[in-house]
Symmetry: C2
Subunit: 344 residues, 2 copies
């Protein structure tokens, strides 16, 4: 069964990698939970239980955290605008997860049944739509159309990324450039808009808004590459979902590109057939080859490259309250990647 | 195969019932087509062809027509705001059709293959999302957040209506009140917001904006009841889609409620089992019984009731330019219902 193209930090119920940084966001996250719970009443009674199932607090809430951190003032400040914006990006994200799980026929996410498994794919299509619509509705309650415009554009780009990925599944003529474009759209876009909104809604200087936007985009790309690396090098008990499924579902990710480059022609053709679905995937063999051929180092290097770009975006804003916290996310992500490194 | 819960006027390539009224909208509809075509460039290359497939001009464009007619000034006036609003409601409508067809596994709509059949259900989920997102993006380009707020709220309500209908399919404890609530949400809501936007965006008096809104809602309910009647009494060559499918898919509509009421207990139990899926549907028998038991008259009466309410909404605005054209839609709808009446 193919894995959903998740962008979640490993959890399995344990504190996740970003927990240290996110701990400081307890008041903001509590306000977000309260806000999201209050939204339930806006939904028709039949849909309320389904929405509630989705907005439970077991998610990592990375995108809301980016909103809060990029608009950071001080620990006591809980801005209503940021809470609303955080809810908007989280609802858009939840909607994409609900729809992704339909396409992947995924049974489990975050250690519980997916909405498509719980309510059926038909209800899940509409549930995702309702979450999208409500996100945009919340966005329309800001004084100007700027948030609506930013979020609807991001939503379209996220959908475009997922579409291209779906259309190109099992396609072996995908290039690394295609891969970067897909993850830029499907993951980095929502990271980017989260950082943009956090900075923008707190009345920050235009230069910092642009820097925060750029930071979010590079962090998002780095994060997705990490996630794709974890699909091979993670441990299922840590990740809380089945691993090795990108290969099984014919999704060409950076670790597979790196392996392709390193394999002799005969083996490369065999791997291409696994991706294309002409022969059964051999994830154990491919992981063994990745370990032997130094794939990990190359992919880690790609993460570092994006993290450096994210850090560089903030270089001119060293003293701003958000900066140290956003930079801490970079450190945590790199530590998380390092923890995947095979021993010996 | 269940029929999609379409809200389209019968076409089969021939001029549809509203054609007489819509003929006067040629300049506005041409501007809408041009506007929609220009939107294609906003989509990623891989999605563009799919979007183009959906926004072709074979649809009836009833909702755009409601925008144009409720904001009517004179034949030469083509308001950019109305064109944009018409595009917004049409894209929302197209998105719901794309998602409906996935749920119904529908193969044909408007005499051509559905998007889900043409591109696969996975791509169709995302295509619908992209259409929704783009609609909201266009809505965010008005000076204030009002259009965004109205359209996102409508979208959520349309999704809610579809969800309730999906969840209650094959349920025989649905009441006529449930049925009215479902069609109010899934069909009347978008008719309503179309009429609201047309009136509002042309700077009409608040009283007329409210009247137009109310008109649209009642016309939408009447229209859906007509559509449900046509599912039994229409002719396939006229309708351009398979008939009798509401019964086959276990969807309780007004003609079936009316038949239920008139059948003797034993037959009623059998019909309930057909709706519940415990025994095969017998559409020919049920249509015969509907003809014998006067179901047509009762359903036609329900349409008339809603049309009267729609007309009454405009009673205080007899001299306004839109009024005569909106009222003409009522006449056309009633004539369309009458044309379904069985001969003899």
């Amino acid at each position: 069964m193919p894995r959903a193209p998740s962008t979640e930090i490993p959890s399995a119920g344990k504190p996740h990698a970003f927990a240290g940084v996110f701990a400081m966001l307890a008041p903001q996250m509590a306000a977000l939970d309260e806000f999201l719970q209050a939204q339930l009443e806006s939904f028709e009674p039949e849909i309320r239980a389904m929405v509630n199932y989705c907005i439970d607090t077991s998610g990592k809430r990375i995108r809301p955290a980016l909103v809060f951190l990029s608009g950071w003032k001080d620990p006591r400040s809980v801005s209503a605008d940021l809470v609303r914006a955080a809810a908007v990006v989280e609802l858009v994200h939840l909607a994409t997860l609900v729809h992704d799980d339909i396409m992947d026929s995924a049974d489990v996410r975050r250690n519980r049944r997916t909405a498509t498994r719980e309510f059926g794919p038909n209800a899940a299509v509409l549930l995702g739509d309702a979450l999208f619509a409500h996100a945009l509705h919340l966005a329309s309650h800001f004084p100007t159309t700027e948030v609506c415009a930013a979020v609807s554009e991001s939503t379209r780009r996220v959908c475009a990324g997922e579409t291209v990925q779906t259309l190109r599944r099992r396609s072996t003529d995908l290039t690394p450039a295609d891969y970067h474009r897909i993850i830029d759209l499907k993951t980095a876009e929502l990271f980017r808009v989260s950082c943009f909104l956090g900075a923008r809604l707190t009345g920050s200087a235009a230069g910092y808004v642009e820097a925060s936007d750029r930071f979010g985009r590079h962090l998002g790309i780095a994060y997705q590459i990490y996630d794709d690396l974890a699909d091979f090098f993670g441990r299922e008990d840590k990740i809380g979902k089945t691993l090795g499924t990108d290969l099984a579902s014919g999704k060409l990710t950076l670790p597979l590109f790196a392996l392709m480059d390193r394999l002799p022609p005969f083996e490369r053709a065999a791997l291409a057939e696994e991706i294309g679905g002409q022969r059964p995937a051999q994830p154990a063999l491919r992981l063994k080859q990745m370990l032997e051929l130094g794939v990990f180092d190359q992919v880690e290097c790609a993460v570092r490259h994006e993290v450096s770009a994210a850090r560089a975006a903030l270089a001119e804003w060293p003293g701003l309250p958000p900066t140290q916290h956003l930079l801490a996310l970079c450190d945590v992500l790199l530590a998380q990647v390092a923890s995947l490194r095979p021993v010996g």
